[in-house]
């Protein structure tokens, strides 16, 4: 093996390690939804190439409301699905759409676009 091959393989393995670490190993800390005077746990979610924030911490047994704002025209993100709560919503560009549900049981639930390309997580404690 020549020196250039060694370099290519070392760099390649390094990149693979970076991908594994960056996409799969790092755990993002969630944002805790704010409790409003109406008794709802509310969180604004920006939809632009992904969900911001994409990890939302909720308290069990209190109604939750996520206000989605889609700020892109790509049709990939035009729908958001909270499969575990049987909720979905069409998100017109530039408008706020509220999705309300009741996180009755503790656990981790996913919310995603219809194709499952954009994903977020709800942590119910």
């Amino acid at each position: 093996m020549t020196w250039d091959m060694i370099v290519v393989n070392v760099v390649g393995l390094g990149l693979i390690g970076l991908i594994v670490w960056f996409f799969w190993l790092v755990k993002t800390k969630g944002v805790r939804a704010a409790l409003t005077s109406g008794g709802y746990q509310e969180q604004m979610v920006l939809v632009k190439g992904g969900y911001t924030p994409d990890v939302i911490v909720l308290e069990r047994g209190k109604p939750a409301r996520l206000n989605f704002v889609r700020q892109e025209s790509s049709s990939c993100s035009e729908m958001v699905v909270l499969a575990a709560f049987g909720k979905s919503a069409y998100l017109p560009e530039g408008e706020t759409v509220a999705v309300e549900f009741m996180p009755a049981e503790a656990g981790e639930y996913e919310f995603a676009c219809q194709m499952g390309m954009l994903r977020g997580k709800l942590i119910v404690e």
Partner: protein, 705 residues
Amino acid sequence: MNKHAMHMSPASANVLPGYKIHEARAPAGPEGLDREQQAREAEYRSLMRKWWFAAPVGVFTMIMSYPWLFPVLDDWFPRGSPQLWYIWAFMGVASAAVLLYSGNQFFTGAWQALEHRSANMHTLIALGTGVAWVYSTIILLFPQVLPSSEMLEVYYDVTVVVTALVVLGLAMELKAKGRTSDAIKKLIGLQPKTARVVRGGREIDIPVEQVVVGDLVVVRPGEKIPVDGEIAEGSSAVDESMVTGESLPVEKRAGDEVIGATINKTGSFKFTATKVGSDTALASIIRMVQDAQGSKVPIQRIVDVVSGYFTPAVAILAILGFMAWYTAGPEPRIVFALIVAVTTLIIACPCALGMATPMSLTTGVGLGALNGILIRDGTALQTAQKLQTVILDKTGTITHGRPVLTDVVMSPGVDENEMLRLAGGVEKSSEHPLAAAIVEGAAGRGLALPDAESFNAIPGHGIEARIGGRALLLGNLKLMHDRSIALGALEERAAELADDGKTPMYVAMDGKAAGIVAVADTVKDDSVQAIRSLKDMGLEVVMITGDNERTARAIGRRVGIERVLSEVLPQDKAHNVQKLQLEGKKVGMVGDGINDAPALAQADVGFAIGTGTDVAIAASDITLIKGSLHGVVLAMQISRATMRNVYQNLFGAFIYNTLGLPIALGVLYPFFGILLSPLLAAIAMAFSSVTVISNANRLKRWRPA
């Protein structure tokens, strides 16, 4: 806190300034539909502009990347010549422009995804085209990095052509995607815009949103009925096909329910509005369909797990491919390694995988809605096609659910109309559920029913009355025996009627047997045909009823059901469903949504036969708006067709990726010397997602078998 206040709170609490808040549950109106349409159109036009910019540059770069393949060009731009270098430099600038304009969404999309620690199709395309451009530019500027000048080849064509094809694919995908939701558009488009109401004694036209419950609404022939209500005066035939799937117009009289968005055919009438705005049957249907289309088919969970790892895994494969080809590949190693890595990045199509089930679900659920079948969610759809046994509730499902006069038998010398006239007259005073059937039957023959002069109901036996100057007895065998009436051949005839599932009642006039009137809950016209179709589909059909065994068996025989569960109390129906499930079967239960709710819930799939405007109340998995058993057959066929479509799409998407990736990585090269060109990979990738959507759209051509 009142409803309004609750809806107001988010606007003040946690909304970006300048944004209007929408409640996700409200169905989109025609206005929302237009905006969605416009947004799609704008996106489509933008993608097509990008395609038209990239396409000519693509053709130019494709030719000029290999001028030695064209005799004239080879003379003008020989390999290694300064003029070719300048042409390539120009191509580098042009392809950068294509990347920046046509491929802009890939790079911004990839960056945004990266910010969310995720990767998607954009990431793969951006990496593939970006790597090709950067490599080409480096060797163009610093050719000395290559071992030989013969190896100097640029890959700007890959950059531009891949961008162009993927953009074209996205545009086609957008068009096809718009078509999958045609059904919901059709439903939303049904919503009427104006209504003619009586206010202050005058008829005025107002927007439909302003109609309130209790308004008296005027409908003329050929007009659309604006909201749900009950006819106050007038009568007409109404075409309800758009909501119930029933093709024949339905006769409506005062007191009957009318459904908004259906079309009045012949007469004029006035009706009282009972449901308006988002409470109407149509609004409920639209909401249910939207919810179902946004739900997930259970099999999607597997796909979700796969696609969660998919894109980074493809990037890893591309790196491994580069390493392998650089280390052990043929010369020029760097070129082969680069082509393999770029092709691998480009051929992988996470989109086809992600779209496989939602697209079919959207089409399938919409198809159901257009046929009067409301499917609650993807789970109901997937389970329905696995059913092995279908339990049909007798009353109201197989039969009409209300008794009618079926037979009149006379003793010799008795006039049929006279007997029926008197029997009908007597029953007018009775509150017995079967009495109405005789009254209606007699009235239906145009007989004028006299009033009884005296009337005595004998519980458990029948009625004794004086009517038209005659003594009349109407009741069962016990009553006749008590009064020592000789029945003769009538007794045998009555037994036959009972065997047939009917309820016979003897009539005696002036102390002599006059005949029999029999009533029965009649079987709906298409029940027999529907039950046969269900059996033809390989399903075991079971009837459940509270009737005694003899009556139940008789009806079972008439409709072709062998397995009959009789004398089942309403509260025990769910338990019976469970017993069948314990036999290891997937059980569907068909009944009306209100009385049978526990049994419907217990079943793997509960089918509620609804009628009219109560569609959304039923707590069932599948609601059949039209009160016909044939809907169960259609629902089963639609669920099977949709799931077949889902499996085809998933199979296609999985096979495409599992075959495409190894080929891109060059597994065929050692055996056949075949290495996939990145351009072919781009074509395959762009069309794989279009194929998935087109296959889902094919479902729309489904017609009942």
